[in-house]
Symmetry: C2
């Protein structure tokens, strides 16, 4: 954003990196948008299904943590997934307040069938970076993510 900001060098460097980071994340996500919509899903619903596929059944709270969204948001998205028969809830045996969100057969089939195409789109979106650049990007981003998981947890 042509950050003409008269701050310290450290600030200018951080702001420039931040702006680039936001735009890159937005633009890669945009690259997946059309395909997800074409399958009748939204980014949120896709995100939940993807998490359940790769990690197994999770509680709403766990999903909120993985996806960096609020609990209230998850309540809605889970509701919408259930309405479409893509997930079901299984009451927790240890905790009467909680339940796990499970993929239905239909939900599993849906997300599993989408994933290969999704992976190809992401791969293509990142193809301007070499394999080792992708590694670098991952390393730098993880360093950020880890350092930042302080108090601002989405609860």
């Amino acid at each position: 954003m042509a950050t003409r900001y008269d701050g310290t060098k450290a600030e200018v460097s951080a702001l420039n990196a931040f702006i680039a980071l936001q735009r890159a994340a937005d633009s890669v996500e945009a690259a997946t948008q059309a395909e997800i919509a074409r399958s009748g899903l939204t980014q949120s619903r896709f995100g939940v299904l993807e998490a359940l596929l790769h990690l197994g059944p999770l509680t709403p709270k766990e999903l909120a943590g993985k996806l960096l969204r609020s609990k209230g948001n998850l309540t809605l998205v889970i509701e919408n997934l259930e309405r479409e028969g893509l997930t079901s809830r299984e009451p927790s045996k240890e905790d009467g307040r909680s339940f796990t969100v499970n993929l239905t057969a239909k939900g599993r089939k849906r997300i599993a069938s989408m994933f290969p195409k999704h992976a190809k789109l992401i791969t293509s979106a990142l193809s301007s970076l070499s394999s080792s650049e992708q590694e670098d990007l991952r390393r730098l981003c993880r360093k950020l993510g880890k350092a930042q998981t302080k108090g601002g947890g989405h609860d």
Copy 2:
């Protein structure tokens, strides 16, 4: 997200980088959230004011391009900013359909006063990366953004 996906090496590499990218962007943005809310703004409104401060008056379409949001979204956010007296619209002389969004004195004062604190928060959020790592991150992200600006423009 522990991407256990049985794809090619290239796919796994791209997916891992993508996931890290999304989470890093989300978590740095979250670091700015509280302060922006404390000033009575939202991320969207802050984004528009920030763009106007650094780039000068812009049309809704230009703002949509800069911020990677839809035109319809900008219509609403601009409306909300006007309601609070932070921006005003100036009819374009060349194009009767358009107008530029301008900071009011109040709007300029508000965003300018927030920026130093904002810059410090971003700097702190990125402080786990050295200056040269921040440069690397920026370079990698820009390479992505540029490559990806194909047809998926938010119009």
